[in-house]
């Protein structure tokens, strides 16, 4: 199977209502709305209404956490990048 994605960001998104969704990161926008494909509900299947859902768009404001795959991420670099955020009014 050939694909153009160089990597699949399989991540788990935990929402503020305690629903955890595992899926492949498809896209993100400026509001941090997240589109996931090929999702499955992790932890409990006590959310059966999600059984048939394959792809979803999650509004950014309901996301509590997002777990990213550790080997795709360079943690130290990410921390540095967060520190380097241009500070307001300091340009």
């Amino acid at each position: 199977i050939t694909t153009l994605f160089y990597s699949f960001f399989k991540s788990v998104v935990e929402l503020k209502n305690d629903l955890s969704i595992c899926g492949t990161l498809y896209s993100v926008d400026q509001y941090l709305n997240i589109k996931l494909t090929n999702i499955s509900v992790t932890d409990l299947e006590k959310y059966p209404h999600m059984l048939s859902v394959k792809n979803c768009l999650i509004q950014g404001s309901v996301v509590a956490y997002m777990q990213l795959p550790a080997d795709e991420i360079h943690k130290q670099l990410l921390q540095d990048a967060a520190r380097k955020e241009p500070l307001p009014q300091k340009q």
């Binding site: 050939t2 694909t3 160089y6 896209s27 494909t37 670099l77 540095d80 520190r83 009014q89």
Partner: protein, 546 residues
Amino acid sequence: MSFFFFKKNWPGKTCGPLAPEEELVSACHLEKEEENEGEEEEEEEEEEDLDPDLEQEEEEENDLGDPTVLGAVHNTQRTLLSSPGVKAPGVLGMSLASLHFLWQTLDYLSPIPFWPTFPSTSSPARHFGPRLPSPDPTLFCSLLTSWPPRFSHLTQLHPQHQRILQQQQHSQTPSPPAKKPWCQQPDPYANLMTRKEKDWVIKVQMVQLQSINPRLDDYYYQEYYQKLEKKQVDEELLGRRNQVESLKLVTPYIQKAEAYESVVRIEGSLGQVAVSTCFSPRRAIDAVPHGTQEQDIEAASSQRLRVLYRIEKMFLQLLEIEEGWKYRPPQPCFSEQQSNQVEKLFQTLKTQEQNNLEEAADGFLQVLSVRKGKALVARLLPFLAQDQAITILLAITHHLPLLVRRDVADQALQMLFKPLGKCISHLTLHELLQGLQGLMLLPPGSSERPVTVVLQNQFGISLLYALLSHGEQLVSLDSSLEEPNSDHTAWTDMVVLIAWEIAQMPTASLAEPLAFPSNLLPLFCHHVDKQLVQQLEARMEFAWIY
């Protein structure tokens, strides 16, 4: 066979009656529909949701004006479509969409002269807004016509993306695939947007990618792929023949929209004068805090928060130093400014402003008790001058039991081992003894030496072994003097004591060191009797070769 010739031959086979200038558009849609089998997403919607970084990766092709190349692009697309087993619809649909978007972008940015064969399709819609600079014709002319095209420095395909496209090209069969795009069902979404509108949307998205300083704006991506490329280069050097040439990833420099002052402060006015432009129609409230927040932090009662805040401030300084070091002019030593920065950071770390020496040490230890603080010190050590580094090393050695106890949860002291190991080799015997003596003193009211705690911790025992090994090196180099030196006797006593302590420990409690220096056992043999050596050997568990 290029796609465009194809189209010209079957104008009647497009779905529904179409004006000639719409041919391209509808064909686009047809192709799109085919790619997105099973996906009902509209093209526009999909484009909007593309991650800006992804856009950077795949959509910055401004330079493939050559129709042969474009044809090749399209053939690639069709190959991808017909490849067996390519059924990851979500991913593939998206990727093909971006390829398609890419094709459209090419279309959108190619200059008129490159379309001489299709006078009917060169419509005024191809012109776009005055904002975008006209592509440099010389840039186009210099392109190779073979695939993969040598993208100019303006192109931004991610190296692995590029590689996969190449592979696709190489593996494709010369005969066209069996699928016949014009036999598709009529596209219900065709012609919802004109070319001009599509161009406009694309242009708006491209505005996001403008960046004068991609190193800052997109720090993580740039650095991460630099590391990736470096790793690939190393792999190639090792002989693993990757046919990949990793392309240099550069964000395109497009003339940025003029910066405007969105918040205008007039002297003497109350608040701000709202300046609205098409970029920010209403920016009434300045939600960004001005000035520093030091006062608030000072008021915070939590000690830990204060320490963390201090660490973060120091981290910003450290990042500046590291950045300066990475992009220094080709002299291997520090510039004066850099030395000043290092010095300043070191002083901050040592909390020199505290008058009380104990408080100063305390501040430093607090920093070291936090995982972030350990990371900070570990990264700072290579930049420090020798005496500064030794100060830190001795302070750590002196307070080792305390640090070890505080590190039980994190187990993060290990990251300090390598940088400390480097500065151990600069210690003099006297300094070494000073450092170690603290560990051997019996604290009042206790029969246990601090060194026992150290021996049970991996970092502690590794550091101790490294120090002993260095001491042994120093002494053996020095032994040519042959005179009884107070330091030498102190050293001998120290070694004996440590050996005894190690022998006393039950084997199970001894931590496994990160590195075991080879001259350690000979050291013990020198100073200690046979029986004790045997006990040590049993505990240290290494291969003893007579």
